[in-house]
């Protein structure tokens, strides 16, 4: 569009070219949106795509139409998430920055293999794997967001919208979902904020999604580097903590483990435990099933990659001891060392693997079968569930980075991870691509919420960056 900027625009007020028959149903039916580098935007459905052409079916067009792939900025899709049955998830990080999640299938000197629901088994070239991390969790009861459905806004007018697999707020107000939390749950999410500090409240076990002040549950208030916990029913203050991560960054990954049975709340930020609280007024607490995110700022705030899973109520680790006054009263500037000095720091080496409870193990993976990993250690072969590991030691290699190729695309998963590959072919349900990282794989299109094109063009990247907020 920039290339063809009109010399003169109409100086006359324009009425609608179409009025009575404006096809609202068109928008309803279209779930995907393609954006072009000239700012043109069209909703519809992806029928097929190659390195040269994309076939797009829009209700506004008389028939499916072809578009040049080299003009496409990105395609936003509505992912379909499978039912989670696994108790852990492995994240493989590649040397080009890609991250892919799945079930760890094998680790050898040649490859790290993941079993995925969206592309079957993917064998990653060991030379291009920079890390393997395992997260333990019960089966997800909710993962998202993938839209506004099921969520309710409390502000009038609403301040939250859904865009690029995230909720984004444009003012003070809340968004809530009823009936999503079990009695004991792990709530994970990622948040990012503009301005100099975060101003976010999260309420768990709410009984009323229509208000930002429900009469049950626990409210965690994140503001600057402080976190305060209070009982929503009694409004009594339970405790507070400090986080350097919140003070020094503009985004964070948060996990809240909450039990309505024993009235315990544990907070993790960027996978580091921050604090564990017990509610002394437990008898007065009533547990709803609702989850709230409430922005306290007129500046934009983003919440994404929300996951809710069952929690067994057991904590594998506890925060480092802190000064009593800080624990009790949350004095700023004290007790902020828990993130600066992770428990594992200083004792890891290249063959040492971390366990979920903070223990570590030296050895070499010999086999993985049915979720059980065998490790050859100096003490002999040790078998343990994969879910009990946090990291997997890889044989040291001289890392390589996959080649960039014309026609590479970047596909984003709903959880914020992404993978780059050369687009080979596609049909209505799958996309086949290749990369030095993993050879050739066929992906279910339903796994992706966005696919970016022309990813090595600085102009295209600038346009994408401008849309981040």
């Amino acid at each position: 569009m920039n290339k063809h900027r009109p010399l003169i625009r109409s100086g006359i007020v324009l009425a609608m070219l179409s009025m009575a028959s404006a096809p609202e149903s068109h928008a309803d039916a279209a779930k995907s949106i393609v954006r072009f580098a000239n700012n043109d935007v069209l909703s519809g459905a992806l029928e097929s795509i190659t390195a040269e052409r994309m076939r797009w079916n829009s209700p506004l067009l008389g028939r499916p139409s072809s578009f040049f792939t080299d003009k496409i900025l990105d395609i936003s899709l509505t992912p379909t998430l499978p039912e989670e049955t696994q108790d852990h998830e492995t994240t493989v990080t590649l040397t080009n920055g890609d991250t892919i999640r799945g079930q760890l299938a094998s680790v050898t000197d040649e490859a790290v293999s993941l079993d995925t629901w969206f592309a079957g088994r993917i064998n990653f070239n060991r030379l291009m794997v920079s890390g393997v991390k395992i997260e333990q969790h019960a089966a997800y009861l909710y993962r998202g967001p993938i839209g506004m459905d099921g969520w309710r806004q409390t502000a009038d007018p609403p301040v939250w919208n859904y865009h690029r697999a995230a909720f984004r707020s444009s003012g003070s107000g809340g968004i809530a979902r009823a009936g999503v939390l079990p009695d004991e749950c792990s709530v994970t999410f990622e948040t990012a904020w503009q301005g100099d500090s975060i101003r976010l409240r999260v309420i768990v076990f709410s009984d009323d999604p229509t208000t930002d002040n429900p009469s049950s549950g626990y409210e965690l208030s994140f503001q600057r580097g402080s976190i305060h916990l209070r009982n929503s029913k009694t409004q009594s203050f339970i405790g507070s903590a400090q986080s350097r991560v919140l003070m020094e960054n503009d985004k964070a990954r948060v996990e809240i483990r909450a039990s309505a049975k024993n009235n315990r709340i544990a907070l993790f930020i960027n996978d580091q435990i921050i604090e564990v609280w017990n509610d002394p007024d437990a008898a007065q607490a009533q547990a709803g099933r609702g989850l709230h995110f409430i922005s306290g700022s007129t500046l934009p705030l983003r919440v994404s990659n929300i996951g809710v899973a069952q929690w067994d109520g057991v904590l594998d680790q506890m925060p480092e001891p802190q000064a009593g006054l800080n624990r009790r009263f949350g004095i700023p500037g004290m007790g902020m060392d828990e993130e600066a000095a992770p428990a594992s720091e200083g004792k890891s080496d290249e063959t040492r693997m971390e366990l979920a409870n903070g223990d570590s193990l030296v050895g070499e993976v010999s086999a993985i079968h049915d979720g059980i990993i065998s490790v050859k250690s100096p003490l002999g072969e040790i078998k343990l569930p994969v879910s009990r590991l946090r990291t997997v030691a890889l044989t040291p290699v001289e890392a390589e980075r996959s080649k960039r190729r014309n026609g590479d695309i970047r596909a984003w998963f709903h959880d914020g991870s992404s993978i780059v590959f050369l687009l080979e072919s596609s049909d209505m349900d799958t996309i086949t691509g290749s990369s030095q990282n993993f050879g050739t794989a066929t992906f279910k299109t339903a796994a992706f919420n966005r696919i970016e094109f022309n990813i090595y063009s600085p102009e295209f990247e600038d346009l994408r960056r401008a849309d981040e907020w």
């Binding site: 070219l17 179409s18 068109h26």
Partner: protein
Amino acid sequence: MRTSNTLRGLAALVAISLPWPASADDLTLTGGGQRLSGTVISISGDGDVKLDSELSPEPLSLQAGAVEKIAFSAKPSTEEPVTTLIELINGDLLPAAIESLDEGRLSVVTPDAGRLEIPRQAVKSMQFGIQRRKLIYEGPRSLEEWTISDEDTKNWLYENQSFVSKGPSSASKMLPLSRQFIIRFQLKWQSGTIPNFLVSFADPLDTKGEPSNRYYLQFGGAGLEIKREASKGKRYNTIAILNRPSSQYPDNRLQVEIRVNRDNARLQLFINGEPEGEFADPIPDIPKGSGIMLTFHTVNGGGQEIRNIEILEFDDTRRHRAEDRGDPRSDSLISREDDRWSGSLIGIRNTAQGALFCFKTNFQEEPIEIPEADVSTVFLAEHATAKPDQAAHPFVLRLLGDGALRVSSCQFTGDSASADHPLLGQLTFRRGGITAMERITPAPKP
């Protein structure tokens, strides 16, 4: 007049391959936030649009009802702009230079459609000495270009080139307003709700709540009012009032144009393109401000919007169009000095010094001759000619120079466009002279 053709069907609107033009047409699509750009090849009477896009190897076919608006990449002619605007009996406006007029025909030369012979009975009026209006502001283009308080920010949305108010909200903008200016905008409100808009202009944007010299338009369920706020004396003074309930405006939308002449303290009001009259501002100390302020008392969660805001310089040479033309059975001529004659315009002929008007008044034996340079407006006598069926011509072609012609369809071929006009017949335009095409009657169901 050119031979009139029968309406062309969809089959006649076959896409014709075009060379890529120097600029692109912008199409706003239905469904929220969708748009395409390129070169419009054709628009059928059914509303199907064929678009040549750099994004696609083949022309894109957009179904009827898919397009809300087309803004063409108009390119002005290199020739001198014409200074005459001809109004036809169906309300269409054609910018043209007069060659001659006799009992039966008006001969004109248009900058973008060449020479035309128009039946005299098809002409309603002619306005002379019109100058091109300089655009001061066109928008809205974003919330950022307006001043909005933090408190109000949450109630404004910018969508599809319009400001949408979701609750009580205001926004203001300071502009380089001239002494004479035109403000145009379109208001829209949710079906079943009562609108409550306030748009102030010539506003100094002084401290909120303090009396100041400014004008404002207020539109609510009971009607529309233009008011003058004064910093001294009686604070609020009605200048114009239209007791037309909001429910009487089709599609819950209202097109407003106000022409403000601060030199003679007069305002002209046009609603949905029709003149509503000229009104005097009786308060001394004419507003000198250059600000515009939007104050929408929208109920929370409601939806009121404003779009297509245009501010133009106003030369006041068209002031007589809004006047009562007098006896419609005779011709009327108004000079630039505001002299008025009724009688018969015998003819217009070209001379070395320009067009000369030969007018026989009802009170003189001999016709008088008046040079075009002295003529402001001519109204021709009305005849019993049947007006064209507007439903058969659902589109309006907007032309450079404030022209607007209703057509049944339009074909675009290279640098030209052709359309069938109910009074002028088959017309061929220079493509660059068309600024927009819009549907003014509902599209057929897709």
